[in-house]
């Protein structure tokens, strides 16, 4: 038990923040929707871990549960449309590893250009946090929130499919949650925010299904890859 609590205490610090940095990057760069959704789930777990030192444990658990449900909603709808036989051309033809698509294209930009765009966000983040003055939010949390918001915005700009837009938008919201939870740790507010996330996921899940139905009808224009 002691070892477990020590491990949690260790993970809540720098490892959680580095994990958030990596997961946001994976969400943006990953070509396979399963990798992006897995990274989103890990991101929610890491946000909860990062918050353990700042808010009550029950609030952390609510956030963890919400994240798991949000990911499950998106996964189920993506899985259903895939089972309905609507996998896209990139998934059919690209290289695979353990069944996961390893192609370079996700959205309109290829991998090198997406990497370049991510580098721009890194530079912006470094520039902004060179002059960080806000004392109410710990700098490490603010830095991660900014990074996640930046990567999420890039994802929004460069994605058209509802599933990719959903993952990008939820990354922005998770980044915001990282900061806002430390400022407003009220249970009622956390409850409303969680309900809002779940409904947003439901909305995107519905749009993903509708888009795929339309694509199937039109001969498969665009599917999540």
């Amino acid at each position: 038990m002691h070892v477990f609590s020590n491990l949690i205490a260790f993970l809540t610090g720098t490892p959680a923040l580095i994990g958030l940095l990596v997961t946001a990057l994976i969400i943006f760069l990953a070509a396979d929707w399963r990798v992006a959704l897995a990274a989103l789930l890990v991101q929610y777990i890491l946000v909860a871990l990062a918050l353990t030192g700042h808010v009550k444990l029950e609030l952390v658990l609510v956030k963890l549960l919400t994240g798991a449900l949000v990911t499950a909603i998106l996964y189920l709808s993506a899985r259903r449309i895939r089972d309905a036989g609507s996998s896209g051309p990139t998934e059919e033809t690209g290289p695979r590893f353990f069944g996961l698509h390893l192609g370079w294209s996700a959205g309109p930009l290829g991998f090198p250009l997406r990497l370049l765009a991510a580098l721009l966000v890194v530079l912006t983040t470094v520039r902004v946090f060179g002059h960080y003055r806000l004392t109410v939010v710990p700098m490490d949390l603010a830095l991660m929130a900014f990074w996640m918001a930046g990567m999420g915005m890039l994802g929004l700009v460069l994605s058209g499919h509802p599933l990719r837009v959903a993952v990008a938008a939820l990354t922005i919201l998770a980044g915001f949650d990282l900061v806002y939870s430390t400022l407003e740790p009220s249970l009622a507010l956390v409850g409303f925010v969680s309900a809002f996330y779940l409904l947003a996921a439901l909305g995107f899940s519905y749009l993903t299904s509708v888009q795929t139905l339309a694509s199937n009808g039109a001969g498969g224009e665009e599917t999540p890859s």
């Binding site: 938008a169 507010l189 409303f192 309900a195 909305g203 749009l207 509708v210």
Partner: protein, 474 residues
């Protein structure tokens, strides 16, 4: 017997109506009748029932003004919320009646009631942050409403969901900053500049957040996308009721940060945003090739006047803005109903596919023209009085702006004339069935209301004045 608290009554009735309309969704006449009856009754109750004492409704005692505590949060109907809800329910009645003969998706009525119950919650919640979150939650059923029964493009729904979603972090941040500024001790001299600084920091997220929620240019691109994709009455519902509810938290926010209403720089920025929205909407309306997008851009342009009015500052300006918000709803509903008739009868609203249609559908054509002219602020229509009042006030400070407003109205008229010239073509359109009788009668009634509001623009003035007084902004 203990009287039913008003908030419970107002929240429960739309949800019950949602269930009933879902059960009878296959019988559209029954669903429309139940929906219109429920919303008309709720509108009447909001107008007639007193807040300071209980009254009897169908033998049951209801205390409309009694607060309710749910999960530690107080839900209460105040005079501002009462006026707002009366307006929303009246508007929903009009939309439901028109949707009776203009199919808008088999779940239109039940989803609209779910959205209405969330809108009621926005008006009942006394906390800005929670009101914003509930408003954002209403975007999800909104997406279902937008898609209707179509498996087609999701662009409109996706943009609508996204802008609402992105507004939330911005508005919650703004609310937190304003809250911190209010917590600071008032008489501590050194803290005063820090308080002011914090309150000023709230301005940027608040402006961006409300810009997204209210569809101010350049964030308003979802409006034409919605008008092109979604069932027209669903678009009209979100352009009128949805945007009216978005104004409610905006006034709640201003109530917490009243200094914003006295800051000339802030007011100037609001007016500038309004002007840009008006011009962008008007210019884009002039070059559209279908009535759906023309309707979206005309509604967007008209929305800019709301900001221009808010930016004037003072209680009269807020009254004028809210009067404009109420008056614009009717022409928007009228235009949406006419676009729905066109799509229903011809399968399209593109100018190129409507040649000669005016002869087959004269009432829908006339309704489109009247609705469009009202959104352009043409005399003798619902839009004229407030357009005129706002333009005059704007002209007194910047005369060049008044010319730009006039040019923008010209853009909407040009768009309408382009569509009309196509519809008035000589081609025989035997493929188009004759105009629907009931829908045409309803369109004539709504068109009459647009003209009546042009003649008596002050029709909604008393409840609007009550609402502005209740917000106590000045």
């Amino acid at each position: 017997m203990t009287p039913i608290p008003g908030p419970i009554f107002l929240l429960a009735l739309p949800l019950v109506a949602a269930l009933v309309t879902y059960l009878v969704r296959r019988w559209e006449a029954a669903a429309a009748a139940v929906s219109a009856l429920a919303t008309a009754s709720l509108a009447l109750l909001c107008i007639r029932l007193p807040l300071d004492r209980s009254a009897f409704v169908l033998g049951q005692e209801v205390a409309f003004g009694r607060p309710v505590v749910l999960a530690g949060r107080t839900l209460m109907l105040d005079p501002a919320g009462q006026s707002w809800l009366a307006f929303l329910f009246a508007l929903a009645t009009l939309s439901f009646l028109l949707a009776w003969r203009l199919r808008q998706g088999h779940l239109f009525f039940s989803i609209s009631f779910v959205i209405l119950s969330l809108y009621v919650l926005v008006a009942l919640l006394q906390t800005f942050s929670l009101a914003v979150l509930v408003l954002a939650m209403s975007a999800t059923p909104g997406v279902f409403l937008i898609q209707g029964d179509r498996p087609g493009s999701v662009q409109g729904g996706q943009r609508y969901l996204l802008v609402t979603l992105l507004a939330v972090p911005l508005l919650l941040s703004a609310a937190w900053l304003v809250g911190q500024a209010q917590l600071a001790p008032e008489n501590a001299e050194p803290a005063l500049s820090a308080v002011e600084g914090m309150a000023r920091q709230a301005l940027l997220p608040a402006a961006l957040g409300f810009g997204l929620l209210l569809a101010i240019f350049p964030f308003g691109t979802w409006m034409p996308a919605l008008a092109a994709d979604a069932p027209p009455m669903a678009s009209a519902f979100l352009f009128t009721a949805g945007q009216a509810v978005a104004v409610f938290p905006a006034l709640m926010f201003l109530h917490q940060a009243t200094w914003l209403l006295h800051d000339p720089a802030t007011l100037e920025v609001v007016q500038l945003a309004g002007l840009v929205t008006v011009i962008a909407g008007g210019l884009m309306a002039a070059v559209q090739r279908d009535f759906g997008r023309l309707f979206g851009y005309a509604a967007l342009s008209d929305l800019g006047y709301l900001l221009l009015a808010f930016g004037m500052g003072g209680s009269q300006a807020v009254i004028l803005a809210l009067l404009h918000m109420a008056n614009r709803s009717v022409p928007i509903v009228l235009m949406a109903a006419c676009v729905a008739v066109l799509r229903n009868r011809t399968g399209s609203d593109a100018f190129s596919r409507l040649r000669g249609v005016a002869r087959r559908l004269p009432i829908a054509t006339a309704g489109l023209v009247i609705g469009g002219l009202a959104l352009a602020g043409f005399p003798m229509t619902a839009g004229f009085a407030t357009h005129w009042g706002i333009s005059r006030a704007v002209a007194s400070a910047h005369w060049s702006w008044a010319l730009l407003l006039l040019a923008s109205s010209g853009g909407i008229v040009i768009g309408l004339l382009r569509g009309l010239s196509s519809m008035l073509g000589e081609e025989p359109r035997d493929d188009v069935t004759r105009q629907p009788v009931v829908a045409s009668v309803l369109i004539v009634i709504v068109a009459g209301l647009v003209i009546a509001l042009g003649l008596y623009p002050q029709l909604y003035l008393p409840p609007i004045q009550r609402a502005v007084e209740a917000f106590a902004l000045f």
